[in-house]
């Protein structure tokens, strides 16, 4: 066997398979996780801003409750629930 043939035979031993669905899936999963983490990281400033706004308007909200503005409070709660649901869906889509 010539040197070149010998080397070629050794390279062939070291070659990964031409088709490797497990590797492809693992890479897809890693990309999805990376995107999810990036999205969560992008949501952190929004969360901080939301908390700050809530903290700032807390006295006004408290006044609304005390003055019997239950409808406004329910509307705010529904709005918050919808927003959370939408954000959860978007994050889930990133994973798919």
């Amino acid at each position: 066997m010539t040197d070149d043939r010998r080397l070629a035979a050794l390279w062939a031993l070291d070659e990964p398979p031409a088709q490797d669905p497990a590797f492809v899936l693992a890479t897809l999963d890693r990309l999805a996780r990376r995107r999810f983490r990036a999205r969560v990281a992008r949501l952190v400033p929004l969360l901080v801003a939301t908390i700050a706004v809530c903290w700032a308007i807390a006295p006004s909200v408290e006044a609304v409750f005390q003055s019997g503005g239950v409808a406004v409070a329910i509307a705010a709660a529904v709005g918050l629930a919808l927003t959370t649901h939408y954000a959860g869906d978007a994050a889930h889509r990133q994973l798919m």
Binding site: D14, F23, V24, T27, R30, L31
Partner: protein, 161 residues
């Protein structure tokens, strides 16, 4: 359509070449596959920087080489790899596995740039000129690396019966 399908096709089409190149550079299959996944993610997220008309596989090799060099700088990586190779050597049972380990050991005896030049030009069939651009080395250096690397490999592997 999500971006999963085209990304999956890209990985399917090039995984063998990129993983083989990284295996020869790293000397460790698990580390090479881990790096290869990072290469595909970097390629996908940086697809805009690919110049149309250029060789896509060479572009991937370039990303892989840079990832490999960055990984080398991480503390303890080299020691971990050597431990893994040594551990595998003790468990090589078949002639093929033994030959593969001999090749890995011989490759590890080369310098990083020599190993990269050998992996590109001898194993992957990349031209000396393209390898010189990819490795950011003068053409003469790449040719010398390939010639010396080949001689070293054959000399080390020639010790086997």
């Amino acid at each position: 359509m999500t971006s999963r399908e085209p990304f999956a096709r890209l990985v399917e089409a090039h995984q063998q070449a990129v993983r083989a190149f990284l295996r020869r550079l790293c000397g460790d299959t698990a580390e090479a596959d881990d790096l290869a996944q990072e290469v595909f993610i970097a390629a996908w997220t940086g697809l805009d920087s690919f110049r149309s008309g250029a060789d896509f596989r060479l572009w991937l090799y370039g990303i892989a080489y840079r990832k490999f060099l960055a990984g080398r700088r991480a503390a303890g990586r080299r020691r971990k790899r050597e431990t893994l190779v040594a551990g595998t050597a003790e468990t090589a049972a078949t002639p093929d596995a033994e030959a593969r380990l001999d090749l890995q050991k011989a490759l590890m005896a080369l310098s990083e740039s020599q190993r990269a030049a050998v992996a590109l030009c001898l194993a992957a069939g990349v031209s000396h000129g393209d390898a010189a651009v990819l490795l950011a080395l003068p053409l003469g250096t790449v040719k010398a690396h390939v010639a010396r690397g080949r001689a070293t490999l054959l000399s080390m592997l020639g010790e086997r019966p």
